[in-house]
Symmetry: C2
Subunit: 276 residues, 2 copies
């Protein structure tokens, strides 16, 4: 059954090959949306994906790759699930991934279900919520932080960066595969949130209490706003808890991903000590 | 003295003007280094600079700018300090700053003294230290966090991103002007550190204690390592305190700027409660 490896493999040598063009197009949002697929690079990321139950539909390997047991496992998993394996040159891999020094392996995955209905809020004590977050690096960093604090995932409100962009996937360091992502308009999120348990918390200057001693409760939804404008007033007022972090200098705000992390770690510590 | 505004002003209309080329070149590190100058954009950033005592040598204004009292103050400050004011088109400003939608104003500043000798460690209770930090966005975010927690600034060890790059200055949200930046090799930093008071702290997995209850002491130097490799073992072992943050998921590290912020806010809270 595993003997006919060559059948599932294709070797691509030409830059103008239609498959190369289709893979490269996944770097653009409209093509990802049309195809329902996205790209992830690197053995570590793809191993995180595999171990979390996500097997790429297509695996693209550099023909200059070094052998590695995790790479062999990955190849076996793709073959076993009926996926395709493509071998190509480092130059073509660089063209596909847009990186000068590409990793030796990249994978194409089907985009996940990002509806709120697919979220089980009771599966985690903390959730991160991002409103109109525009920077893919910030979004990836929030996913990475969500993994670190054991949050269930990141809920994207209004017009956010695409969680399946190459930059977000890269900055998530694999967390795109281990955390849930949901996308919703504010009204739909609010309705979903209030239909069950959940405390909505945001950093705010409006009628807020110190973040170090606030009464956090699980499941706690920690919300941060757009990089330039912050949260709309209406969203802040809808929160169950508004907290404030010290701002000792001239600035009145933190980077959005930093704010989510400082607040997220605080909630984690508060919930852990409460349950101890 | 203030009457002859037109004398200090130049109007530039051509893309190939040598001044435009020289300004645009400041986006590259080698040209910044040769000129000892760097670029910052935006009225808010330049106002932070002015209010912190940094007046641009050259101010570049869009000829399509809207009037603003802070802009007038800026112009007056540049004229009073003998600087030059250039008016040009939004297209040329976009070319200089490398942004599609440029801000209406940019300034050229002399690079600061970044020697350790110029730092007064007793001027703040917290300092951030970055080792081989490669991402300009991370460095800018660390500066922004340093401002928020009232840290004295960021000390750059070994080969770090350039603090005067357009990306770092932008991500710092003005903190490049309000915080100190120093650059040093590890051996020189260690010697400087041990010649005075100071507790060196790093997040580590080696023989570390929980970050929430660690005995932080001012002046506290919070160190984070390179984005991919973390800190060298030797540097971790040289720390007075190694602390560990919860990692509940698959990943074993945080984004470097996030780690610095979570730890920095913890140190701030510990020092504040200790002195209360």
């Amino acid at each position: 059954m595993m003997g006919e490896r060559s059948d599932a493999r294709r070797i691509i040598t030409g830059f103008s090959n239609p498959t190369v063009k289709a893979l490269r197009a996944l770097r653009e949002k409209k093509h990802r949306k049309a195809a329902g697929k996205f790209l992830a690079e690197g053995l570590r990321l793809l191993t995180d994906a595999r171990e979390s139950g996500h097997i790429p539909e297509t695996l693209v390997l550099s023909d200059k790759r070094d052998p590695h047991p995790l790479l062999s496992e990955l190849e076996r998993a793709v073959e076993a699930s009926g996926g395709e394996i493509i071998e190509t040159s480092p130059d073509i891999l660089a063209k596909i991934t847009g990186k000068d020094n590409p990793q030796a392996v990249a994978g194409v995955f089907a985009e996940f279900d990002t509806s709120l209905a697919a979220l089980d809020r009771t599966s985690a004590d903390i959730w991160l919520v991002a409103q109109a977050l525009r920077d893919p690096g910030n979004l990836g960093t929030m996913l990475r932080t969500a993994d670190a604090i054991g949050a269930g995932g990141v809920i994207l409100i209004d017009d956010c960066a695409d969680p399946f962009s190459v930059e977000t996937v890269r900055a998530s360091m694999g967390a795109i595969f281990t955390r849930r992502v949901a996308r919703a308009e504010w009204a739909d999120f609010e309705q979903w949130l209030r239909a069950g348990e959940g405390q909505l918390v945001a950093a705010s200057l409006r009628d807020a209490q110190p973040y170090r001693s606030a009464p956090y409760a699980a499941p706690c939804f920690v919300m941060v706003g757009n990089e330039s404008r912050g949260l709309p007033e209406e969203y802040e007022l809808a929160c169950d808890l508004r907290v404030t972090m010290p701002m000792k200098g001239r600035a009145d705000s933190l980077n959005a991903a930093v704010a989510a992390a400082v607040l997220g770690y605080e909630v984690l510590a508060a919930l852990d000590s409460g349950s101890a």
